[in-house]
């Protein structure tokens, strides 16, 4: 039973890892102000150009991405845990299920960005407010998927049998649910990631998220707004492109993971037959 990971999956993972490690290294470095090098267009010395204080845009963008990635990872992790907990609670009995369903419907019925804005704003913005906002709003879709899975498992014969043997719900969750759910959990977590990053940038762009001295992509983009009509397109273009690429890379990675897991399933079942 040979399980191999295809190159299509390795490339995006490596890409993001390298990006993140470089970002962490760069973050230690002070962003130098050079008033003689203000607003220069992209060149070999400054690949992404410089801003109105002569700071290198490549370094700023990279630092911004590191903030975004960190927020994305924490959000994806915490949201997934909330989603899993919700699904498991829903599977426990009918009453809990109704409550969980009601909560999922509540969050899904409100426009995502608006809820996020409200929560972030009431918590006073900043990294903490933004993270809590993101975590609280991003668990719903995954929770809905997991809830259905748990529901199906609950009705399957081996779970019924397990129950007949007197195993309690926690034991069943640990020994039966988790092994069955983990593909969904991993894919779900990866797919929350791009959402979280984009929403972080959006909220920050609107001025409710991270504070202006943090090097975040949303900040860079909103700052560049007042320079766009002056013709300094590189201030927005490259950071925007970078953000887009990261998002798409994660999306792609999610897809590849999905395919690998599906294929392994198929492979396993083929062998068993």
């Amino acid at each position: 039973m040979k399980k191999w990971i295809p190159i299509k999956l390795i490339v995006p993972i490596l890409l993001i890892l390298v990006l993140y490690i470089v970002a962490i290294i760069i973050e230690q470095k002070e962003l130098a102000i050079d008033l003689n090098q203000k607003n220069t267009a992209p060149s070999l010395t400054h690949l992404f150009g410089t801003d109105w204080l002569g700071r290198d845009m490549l370094i700023r963008t990279w630092q911004g991405l590191s903030v975004s990635l960190t927020i994305g990872i924490v959000t994806a992790f915490c949201s997934t845990i909330i989603a899993l907990l919700m699904a498991v609670v829903a599977g426990a009995n009918k009453k809990f299920d109704r409550i969980v369903r009601w909560m999922i419907d509540l969050f899904l019925s409100l426009p995502h960005l608006v809820t996020l804005l409200l929560i972030t704003f009431t918590l006073g913005g900043g990294v903490k407010g933004l993270m809590i906002g993101l975590i609280v709003t991003h668990w719903t879709s995954l929770a809905r998927v997991l809830r259905v899975e748990v529901f199906q498992l609950n009705n399957s014969e081996f779970i019924q049998a397990s129950r007949q043997f007197g195993k309690n719900y926690i034991w069943i969750v640990w020994h039966h649910f988790l092994p069955h759910l983990y593909p969904q959990i991993i894919i779900g977590a990866i797919l929350i990631f791009p959402h979280a990053i984009l929403h972080e940038a959006a909220v920050t762009f609107l001025g409710f998220g991270l504070s202006t001295d943090q090097p975040a992509i949303g900040i860079i983009l909103s700052e560049s707004m007042s320079y766009l009509s002056a013709g300094y397109w590189w201030l927005a273009f490259f950071p925007g492109l970078f953000l887009l690429s990261i998002t798409l890379t994660f999306q792609y990675m999610g897809k590849q993971v999905h395919r690998v897991m599906e294929r392994n399933d198929r492979y396993d079942s083929g062998v068993n037959n």
Binding site: L35, K38, L53, A230
Partner: protein, 530 residues
């Protein structure tokens, strides 16, 4: 995949195009009797002088008793003469008899009295608390009695637009009626204001019969100017190297200043409301003086303002009551270091000054979203780091700054034609009211000078007392004395103006970019008309 490539390519092209001059239609001939302007935001509280309209720029719809000319001296407007009694308490005003409101009614003393009464009732921005009583002498003459002598009352007379008693109601701010050069045609809130010539205006007829004000954001104003849709557009200083065909870029000097306010008291103090006040480092006089000397204001002007500004040495640079002795030679690190050394500060291993295990340093706050103040803060902090004071910057919302300002340095800005502002910024009675004197500065001598200025009987006496308050040869509120601020720069105001339009000499511009340019709008004319 191909589709994606095409998409990407088209994005590139669009971006590349926007970099060039798309539009050349702005060369179009200016319409001879109407103008379109994009000069700043809509006045939030409408066009009622009682609630502050007309403090900056022309009140358009109303006119004032006096007016300020380009050199900030007073000229008669609605009055033909005024007389101040010898004790400075009784002001007799003679009104002109040919002034009519835009609805045709004649203006008389009752309207002036009514205006003052309204200002008293509403307790608004217009400060008339010193007015004791107003007496009507005849239809066109009145006497105003003050509680204390106040030569700065002139400024009030020059900014308070007179409202009509017969047409003043709840909706006045939306439908203003006045004796000014223009009357309202239409106000689409959030979009535009259209005004046309007031046929009853007593003064010289303006050359432009119709004005349209567009309420645009600054970058939209620039885009509109580029498309040839506006004749006058106010733009931020970041646009100073842009050109628009058929328009010239005017850069007006200002007292629109920015500086760092330094908490004056030591840590552990409180405001009257119990908010923590004071800072352990900035309460040290040597530190405040050293920062004033070490900072390189020229670099800030060239680097951050792109040359569109002047170094600021006080909050009143180039105003008639500015004491020119407050100008200091900055970028003088040796002298700054000397001052610190003689006060017992020494550089530690990190390169920062230290005294009794206290490191010289603080967090400098700026309002987030204000890019100019952010840039100034960042560069100022870097200069101080270089000098040996550990300054770090952080952006906060105005709401948060409201409390932080008492115990932390903040990048602030002021600048007004009203001499009272200096009093408000530095007098110990005003501690922390409406952002005034938020560093809780106090100096008995300065207080005395400022009080003298407010109760002086003549303009000259006001100016002299204010000059003494700044620096009297020994001490004062300026960088040579208590140095409770580090004033940094005055920011020029930039306007793109149609090249055929002449707007004449302007006053030195106050805080607030936009409306002040309309000060002399009745005198604007086309070059070709000469």
């Amino acid at each position: 995949m191909k589709l994606r490539l095409i998409l990407l390519a088209s994005i590139f092209t669009i971006v590349a195009c926007s970099n060039q001059n798309i539009d050349s239609s702005s060369n179009e001939k200016i319409e001879t009797d109407s103008l379109t302007l994009a000069v700043g935001k809509e006045p939030e509280s409408g066009f009622d002088p009682i609630t502050g309209w007309g403090r900056y720029g022309s009140p358009l719809f109303q006119s004032t008793l006096l007016k300020l000319d380009e050199d900030l001296s007073y000229e008669n407007d609605l009055i033909t003469s005024y007389h101040i009694s010898r004790d400075g308490l009784t002001w007799t005003l003679e009104l002109r008899e040919d002034a009519k409101f835009s609805d045709g009614e004649r203006l008389n003393a009752d309207d002036v009295i009514f205006t003052f009464e309204q200002a008293q009732l509403s307790q608004s921005i217009v400060d008339v608390t010193n007015v004791d009583e107003i007496e009507k002498q005849s239809d066109f003459s009145l006497k105003i009695k003050l509680k204390t002598p106040q030569a700065t009352f002139l400024y009030l007379l020059a900014t308070l637009g007179i409202v009509p008693e017969h047409a003043y109601n709840d909706r006045y701010q939306d439908y203003p009626v006045g004796t000014g050069p223009y009357k309202m045609v239409e106000w689409k809130k959030g979009e535009q204001l259209i005004v046309e010539e007031n046929p009853h205006y007593y003064g010289k007829k303006p050359s432009f019969k119709k004005l349209t004000f567009l309420f645009l954001e600054e970058d939209q104003a620039f885009a509109a100017a580029k498309a040839g849709q506006v004749d006058v557009a106010s733009v931020p200083i970041t646009y100073n190297n842009q050109t628009i065909d058929g328009m010239k870029l005017l850069s007006l000097e200002s007292v629109d200043n920015r500086g760092v306010i330094l908490p004056f008291l030591d840590e552990g103090n409180e405001t009257a409301e119990g908010i923590p006040a004071g800072h352990v480092v900035t309460s040290n006089l040597a530190i405040r003086k050293a920062m004033n000397l070490a900072v390189d204001r020229e670099e800030l002007v060239d680097g951050v303002l792109e040359g569109q500004g002047t170094p600021a040495y006080s909050s009143v640079d180039k105003l008639p009551w500015w004491n020119e002795d407050t100008r200091i030679k900055d970028d003088n690190q040796e002298l700054a270091q000397e001052i610190l050394t003689s006060d017992g500060w020494e550089k530690n291993e990190q390169g920062y000054f230290e005294k009794d295990e206290l490191e010289a340093g603080f967090t400098l706050y700026y309002p987030s979203g204000d890019q100019l103040r952010q840039s100034l803060s960042i560069v100022f902090a870097e200069q101080m780091q270089h000098f040996g004071i550990n300054v770090v910057t952080e952006g906060k919302s105005w709401n948060e700054l409201e409390n932080l300002i008492f115990s932390n340095p903040v990048m602030m800005g002021w600048g007004s034609h009203d001499p009272t502002e200096l009093y408000n910024l530095y007098h110990s009675d005003i501690k922390g009211i409406d952002w005034y004197n938020s560093n809780l500065y106090q100096n008995e001598l300065v207080d005395n000078y400022l009080e003298n200025a407010m109760h002086a009987k003549s303009e000259e006496a006001v100016n002299q007392a204010l000059k003494n308050a700044q620096f009297n040869g020994e001490t004062g509120l300026s960088a040579k004395g208590d140095a409770s601020w580090v004033w940094l720069v005055n920011v020029n105001h930039l306007y793109f103006v149609h090249e055929d339009l002449k707007i004449g000499e302007q006053k030195i511009q106050p805080h607030g970019h936009g409306w002040p340019v309309t000060d002399f709008i009745t005198e604007w004319k086309l070059k070709t008309n000469e």
